[in-house]
Structure formats: structure tokens, C-alpha cells
Amino acid sequence: MLLTCPYCGPRDVSEFTYQGDGNRQRPAPNSQDLQAWNEYVYDRQNPAGDHNEIWQHSGGCRSHIRVIRNTVSHVTSSTVPVRGAVHHRSTERRKPGAKA
């Protein structure tokens, strides 16, 4: 699988490190909202289709990139730098135990 780094161009996936689901929203450090923390730590949408992810080009320019990858076909429709990028975060709150 190739990922196109916005700085370096297309590179092998072995040069990249997966940094996790790009939809997560970390609650404020002093937040007492247990549901929000539970969602941040455990709940994932696990879609069969386009998935919003954070990757780091750890074996190259070391910048973090926001990737839209299709989990079925592995087609990456967008790779943009995290810095300055528009955050396409899902605002929908997933219900605990709900199926994707």
C-alpha cells in the first residue's frame, strides 16, 4: 500500500506509523464527563468505507498527516498535513454498545 505524503510524495506504507482514529475528540483534561472519556478511549466507528485517520511519516519527513482511507478498498482519497487542515470530525456521538 502506498500513502502519498503531502511533503514527500508517494511512499511505501512501511515508512508510516498509524496514529489512530482521526475522529476522536479528547475531552478537556478536567472533564468529569465519563461518557465523553469512555467514547474517547474505547468507542470507534469501525466503518466499512471511508475512514478518517491520523498517520505519521515517521520514516521520512516525520510530519503528521490526515488520511481518508477506504477500509474496504484501501484507496486513500485524501492526504493532507494535520497542521492547518480542516478537521473533518464526525460530530455524531456513538451510543455505547451500538453497532456501526
Binding site: C8, S14, E15, G59, C61
Partner: protein, 195 residues
């Protein structure tokens, strides 16, 4: 200045090696520049950092990813967003850059003793490097002066094309000996000379 010892000293065997009967495919050497520095600009300060590098070294860095320039004893290239490597055969570049890269622009790190510069040149240079790195080394994709940052078995390498068939590779000093030996093994089939 303190005399610098090469990490390659114990394995640096000048002469021809490998299958060189039909001609030497590549020439390997250590360039031992006096200054290897890294400039990192704060976001939005890239243009001022490029201007400061130009003021100190006379090298006009092109704007754009992986762009670089070579001019005689000096070379500079971008290897990450807002980050540049500036190299000079002479010592003292770090001192001059520290003054030019003010805290408002970014930071300057002197890596002269931390990196080892290995040069590979010759008609088979692209072929040998292609065995190491998953990067397109063809001239149209990798023009003279341009640079790429990549890894070989987790050893970081910054590669700048300094000529039509010449590349300068900057690796960590602590991995330089192992990388050098691997490069020698890879070059055996085309015949190589250590200059």
C-alpha cells in the same frame, strides 16, 4: 578545533572492490564536511529562514518540498516541512547560522559531529540506491539539488542529488559504519571503488 575521527575509519578500505573487472560501477567516499547543520523554522517563518540561510551561506533555496541547491563546497536542502539541512566543507557555519536564525524565526542545531556524509557516484549509483530505498531515483523525478528523507531498515537517511549520477547521503554517525558496510555489499555486483 578538535580533530574529528571518522566512524568509518576501521572499515574504510581505499581501492577497488567487488566485481570491478568490467569497470567500476560506483565510487564510494566519505565527504567529511566541516559543518552539517539543521535549521527548523516555526510555522509561517519558512521564508525568513530561507532568507537567513541565503544571507549566511549564499545558497538560494528553492521554495517547495524537498527542494535544494548545491554550490561547490556548500549545499542546502529541505527535508521536512519548514526544516532544512545546510552543509559546508568549512567549519564555523553553525556559529554564523545561530546569529542569523533568531529565536523569532526558528532554531539551529549543529549536527556536524552527529551525522556522517557518504557520497556515491557513478553510472550505477541509481541502481545501487534503488536496492536500499523505495524512492524514485530517476533524474526527472529526483532532480539535481533535490533531497529526499527516507529510511533503510529504520536508519534515517537524507539523500541529496548533487550531480547527474552523484548522491550525498547523510546518516546518523552511530549507524554509519553498518550502513557503509551494507552499501559496499550492495555495490559488489557492479564493482566499486573507495576513494
Amino acid at each position: 578545533m578538535v580533530e574529528r575521527l571518522s566512524p568509518l575509519e576501521s572499515v574504510y578500505r581505499v581501492g577497488s572492490h567487488g566485481r570491478f573487472e568490467d569497470g567500476v560501477g560506483v565510487i564510494l567516499s566519505e565527504t567529511r564536511p566541516g559543518s552539517i547543520t539543521q535549521v527548523a523554522a516555526w510555522p509561517g517563518e519558512e521564508a525568513r529562514a530561507i532568507a537567513a540561510i541565503r544571507k549566511v551561506s549564499g545558497l538560494a533555496l528553492p521554495d517547495g518540498a524537498g527542494g535544494g541547491v548545491v554550490d561547490g563546497d556548500k549545499a542546502a536542502f529541505g527535508f521536512a516541512p519548514g526544516k532544512f539541512t545546510v552543509v559546508d566543507e568549512a567549519e564555523g557555519l553553525a556559529v554564523a547560522l545561530t546569529k542569523a536564525i533568531t529565536p523569532a524565526i526558528g532554531t539551529m542545531t549543529d549536527l556536524s559531529h552527529g551525522r556522517t556524509a557518504i557520497r556515491i557516484e557513478g553510472p550505477e549509483a541509481e541502481w545501487v540506491l534503488a536496492k536500499f530505498f523505495a524512492v524514485d531515483f530517476a533524474l526527472p523525478a529526483f532532480p539535481v539539488g533535490a533531497a529526499r528523507s527516507t529510511t533503510h531498515h529504520d536508519v534515517f537517511a537524507q539523500i541529496q542529488r548533487t550531480g547527474g549520477d552523484r548522491f550525498d547521503i547523510y546518516v546518523f554517525r552511530s549507524f554509519a559504519r553498518s550502513f557503509w558496510k551494507a552499501l559496499g555489499h550492495a555495490a559488489e555486483e557492479v564493482g566499486y571503488e573507495v576513494a
